[in-house]
Each structure stands twice: as structure tokens, then as C-alpha cells.
Symmetry: C2
Subunit: 418 residues, 2 copies
Amino acid sequence: MIHFQQNFKQQLTKKEIKVIDETFSILKEEKDSNSIGYYKLYETSQDILKGVKRYKKENKYLKNKKIKNIVVVGIGGSSLGTKAVYELIKLKQKSTINLIFLENVDPLDIASKTKDIKKTNSLFIVISKSGSTIETISIFKYVLEKFNLDLKKDNSRLIAITDKGSNLSKLAIKNNIPQFNIPLNVGGRFSVLSAVGIVPLVLAGYKVEKTLEGSKIFIESFFDKKENHLLQKAYYYFKNKDKYCINTLFSYSTYFSYFNDWYVQLWGESLGKINRSNKKVGLTPVGLVGSIDQHSFLQLIIQGVENKTVSFIQIEDFGKKVQIPNINIDFLEKTDYVNSCNFDKLLNEECNATIESLIDEKVPTDKIVLDKLSEKNIGILLSYYEILTSAVGAFLDINTYDQPGVEFGKKKLVKKFS
Amino acid sequence: MIHFQQNFKQQLTKKEIKVIDETFSILKEEKDSNSIGYYKLYETSQDILKGVKRYKKENKYLKNKKIKNIVVVGIGGSSLGTKAVYELIKLKQKSTINLIFLENVDPLDIASKTKDIKKTNSLFIVISKSGSTIETISIFKYVLEKFNLDLKKDNSRLIAITDKGSNLSKLAIKNNIPQFNIPLNVGGRFSVLSAVGIVPLVLAGYKVEKTLEGSKIFIESFFDKKENHLLQKAYYYFKNKDKYCINTLFSYSTYFSYFNDWYVQLWGESLGKINRSNKKVGLTPVGLVGSIDQHSFLQLIIQGVENKTVSFIQIEDFGKKVQIPNINIDFLEKTDYVNSCNFDKLLNEECNATIESLIDEKVPTDKIVLDKLSEKNIGILLSYYEILTSAVGAFLDINTYDQPGVEFGKKKLVKKFS
């Protein structure tokens, strides 16, 4: 269960309520017409789930428990969501298989991350929606050479995840490399609950059924009009976009740092667009981790220019109690007020105290409270943020799902090598 | 060597040149009067360096090479800078000792990070400038109990880094715990080259002399008026603060991610202030890693609201050549244009292509080029960003060095436990 609480107030006019209703209809139309596919991934991914389970049973290396590493070669939408879920799901489920992400073309990073990998105990997944991402294919080539992987002979060690019909897909077919496809109506940054996230996680030994269930629960609830807070928040962000141009997500747990990164891509790449009136619009995401960033970014929120909204993520029950010992130390008596408390209480009360400080300063805040760290809650949270993004995009009158600006540099890059 | 290149142009009026000169004088006065101490850390830290080297020779556990972990308990300014240098310096120097940072009061994080630590092979450093940071002291208590550390009997396993006269300092004196002090005129976020960074790094086996030397070189060069680009950039940021309210640092290497975090604290906490005309001012920092974030944040920079400046960090020579194999794969021929290139060339050309795209879109950019990853360059870069921060702060007419807003929540927190 997740509880959503908004601390900003807005009086909506009849006209505004109509605009909000229309936006709901836009999203419903995206879903019902299947023009946008992420709304139904909890359904369409069931086949992927079955497929990867079958693959797991049949793959000779996995069957014989020889696999210690699942190496994911992918960047952006092909890695960020999986990393976010992986970081959280590891807290709930145990596995002896590592997921390793080769994302960056930094030579030292690639060398370091592949140093301890052996061909004999690894599977390699190459993920590219378009099938031709230059970073991904370059690293894939490196992996092929370094581990002496033959596309045909070693196809049991290789998996491709890509769009049906892409060049990577054709390559997979030619070499009999198992492949899983991303639905064509699901964009990279909305693809975490497609094959992109499911295949690596399941192969690494994690169960994702409940995460898909969480997604289903939230999406159905939203389209049953039971999550009106979401549209109201989206509208508030849209309406105040000039004043509050930065939307901060302040997650109170170390383990949300990759979730924050996923949010940053989802929000930034979806909402930074030229709108249908030919105007550059967009909202800037910032991800913070509490309480660490109280000692970094909070001063700016409190006393800096009033241009930020702040959403807090809080976990009520961490599932593990770690106590602050009841030790009295001479000269440090002033810190004794937290003695015998659990660290989660300290963490959450810091979050609450920070929220109250921001309310005092009239910073628009809201709080997203997970009753616990659970697979289901992860699914709810992913879908919440995806729909929130779609809703703000609809208000902004943009195409939320493309990324034309990213192409500009690609052409220049090719020229530099010619 | 670091080369600084600015791609934005500004025509300065005589009046503006005078304002810039005055700001230079303010910074010079801060330095010469010793009111701000970070400008001279390359000098004042020499004693710390000698002290920690002596300590290293004399400490019975270090002498007998029994230490595998240096555990740093600290948050914000007490950890971010050290982490930034550690991540980079590890690429240049080898050591068998791990630096482990206990920063967050997240119960799962604390439990996980302390799981494999043993008392018998670890030293514990508690760092708090004020000496009473609630997170730090709470984790310190946890560490004392978990590892059965007695303040007196185990004082050879403990080190305190704090202000002279703080309660933590008094505790250290009482229990004969070795302590190193942070100069009173050096704020937490400017303290990386004080005992805060030097002691953990040196104990973990890293040489920091050249980093201090880099700092000295840049600071002296700046005050010799040989780095005027810095003041011009600072003035540009100040002058355009309403339009360009976000200053993005786009570092093209995975190993700059903690440097980015350090920058975010330095910039955000220093510049987000109520100015002397009682107005909330501030510039928002965002840290990005290239080329990864080309697939995340770049779309927003290119087509979103024009409210961002972007600084690029590029490393010319990574010191290690890792080649993209010359493999032609059917269907992937379009990616062959980078075959046989080194990954660093691909990475840097991606950076250059991105800069050109942003120039086309009239985004103000600048490029900071390190000829190589070196200890000296790290020192130059740290000091460059510190002085840049001071300069923008002087233009903004704020106290760059305090953080009053952070206190608001602290009082509320205490109440929650009473």
C-alpha cells in the first residue's frame, strides 16, 4: 500500500476541472487505443514472463547452475529502470547471481566492470530498442571479442532485447540468438516492466510477478478514477511550471538512488519538448536521497529562489529494526534524545521535520508513503510516476513519448568519424 | 594541466568590469585576512599531512598491516569531498585498504555496510565539524556498540576529525583518542583538502601531495590574475541567474559521479541564500555523467525551457586504451564507423558532438579539459569549483559560507522526540 499526501492547496475553477477531465480522457484514449503500450504491460508482459521462465529451464548453463553473472549491455531506458528495481528488490529476495550493467563507453569503467567476468559463468544480454545504439553496440562488440563469444556457437550465452524488426532483431534471428521484444508502443523510458526489465531480473533469480501486480493495481485504480490526487498534482505542476520549474524527488532511503535516476530520465526526457504551439517547455527533475542530501541540497530549497516543488518518498517499515544504542557519552549528551530509537524512526522523523520546514517556507510538497518495501509497492510507484509524467505531458500539449533532440548530436557524431 | 574554454560570449561594460574587479578584491580579502581558510589549505594542511603520516607509522594496527578497512562516519561536507577524490585517485594509485563511508541513517544501509567489517581489521574515523551532527553521532554510537569499541581501551582504533573546542574534540581529549582539527575558517563543504579528506585518504594508502599541489597552483594562478575566465564565467552566471537558474555539470566519465555530488553540495548549499537585500537567491546545480545522461537528461537541455547552462568535463587521456574491436556484424554495419577506435575517442567525440548541438540551440556551454586523470588535476579542479562558488556568492551579495536554512528542521526534529 502506498499513501499519497499533498501539502499544497489549489482551488480549481470549473474550467480547470474540465481541463483535468479532458486530460484524463487523453490518457484513457492512449490506453484504450493501444497507441501507448505501457499502460497494459502488466498484461502484455505475462507472455514475456512465461517465455523467460521457459528459457531459464531450458538454457543449459542456467539449468546446471553455472551462471554467476547476468551482464546487461544497455544504456538509458535499457538500464535505468532495471537498475532501479534491482536495487530495491535485492532487499526483499536473495539470489547468488549478480546483475552487471555495462552502460558507459568510459574505457576505465568498461575495463573495470568486465575484469572479473568469465565467459564460463556468465550470460550476456544486449538491450537496444532501436537496435543500433552506438554505445551499446560498441560495448557489445567489445564483449564479443573479450570473451571470445561467437554469435552462432555461443548463442546460448547471448540474449537480445529489442524491437521486432530492428537490425539487432535480424541479427538475433540469423544467429539463432534468443530474443525478447519490446512492444512497439512502449518507449524506452517507459519499458521497465517490459522484457527490458523482466528478462534480466528473472534470469538473475528475482520474482517480478508482484511488481507487475502492483502496476496493474495502480493503473486500474487510476482509470477507475480512484487516484484523482495524481491528476491534481500533475495539473498543479503544469499550472505553476514557470514559477516551479524544478521538481525535486527526495527519497528517504539509500536504496532509492537508482529509482531517482530512473525518475530523472522519465521526467526530463518526456517533458522537455517543443510543444504543439512551437514553444520550448519542460520541467527539470532532481533526485535527492534523504537524509544525506539534507546536508547538501536542502539549504538551497529552503532559502534559495522559490522555484522547486519537493516530493518525499518515505518507507514506514523497513522490515528490519536497527537500533541506536542507549549509550551516554560525555560531551555528546545533546544527541541522547534519539537513544534507543530505531534508525528508521530517526530517518522518517528527519523527513517529517524537513517537510514541516518546507511548509513553513511555502514550498509546495507532497509525501508518498510506502507502508513497507515490497515488490508490489515498487510496481505501484513505477506506474504512479509513469502516469504522472503522461498527465503533465498532456497538460503541456507535447509528445511525451519521443525524444527528437537526442538525434541532433548523433548526426554530428557520425561526421566526426568520417 | 586543465584547459578552460567558454562558448558563451559576453560584452562587458566598463561598469561590469569594475564589478568583476571588486569581486576579485573581495575574494582576495577573504584570503589575505584569513576570514576564509580554504584558499590556504594547501599550506595549512601540510601539518595535517605530517601528522597523519606520523600517526600511520606509530599506530600499532597500521604498522602491523592488520588494517583492511578505514570506516568513515560522516555526512555531507564530512564525506562528499573525500568520496569524490577517492573515486578518482583509486584510478591512479593502488591500495589494499578499503574506504567505507557510513553516511545515511537508513537502517538497511547501515546494516549492509557494516556486515563484513571486523573490529580486528578496521580503523574508525568519526567526522563532524560541529561535533554534534545527529546522524553521525547516532551511527558512531551504533559502531561503538556493534564492534564492542571502548572509547578508552580502543582509542588506537578511533580517530576524531572535528573543530577545535567542539564536544567531539573534548570527548577525544578525555579518552585520548587521536584527533585532527578542521580550521575554524574552513566550512564543511570547502573542507575536502583539510584533515576531513586528507586523513582518511592517507590512512587508506593514498598520496595526496600532488592534489594539494594542484590546489596551490590554481589558487596562486587565480590570485595572480591569470585565471580571468573564472570570474567571467561567475559573472555570466550571476548576470543571467534569472534566465539560467540551473547550472548543469556534465562530466564525461563514470568516475566523476561523486565529484558531481560534491559539486552539487558546494554549489547548492553555498549559493541558495537570502541575500543582503533580504531576497531569496540561488542557482541550482545538476550533476550528469556522460555519455550515459545523453540518454536521460539531454533531451530536456536541448528542447526544454532555456534555463540551463552546461559545463562539460572531458578527460583527454584516460591512461588506458580500450579499443572497440574491428568486427563487422551483419545488420549492424551502420555502427562500424567507430570500429578500431578507442572508447575514449568515442566518449570524447560524443561530448564534442553534444556541445555542438547545444551551441546550435544557443545553450551557454563551457568545456573543462583535463589533459589526463592526475592527482594534480583533481586538486586544480576542486579549487577551481571552490573559487567559482565564492565568486558567484560575492556577486550575489550573500554569505557563501553559512547554511542557516539547514537549522530549521533540526529544531523540529528534536521536538519530535520529546
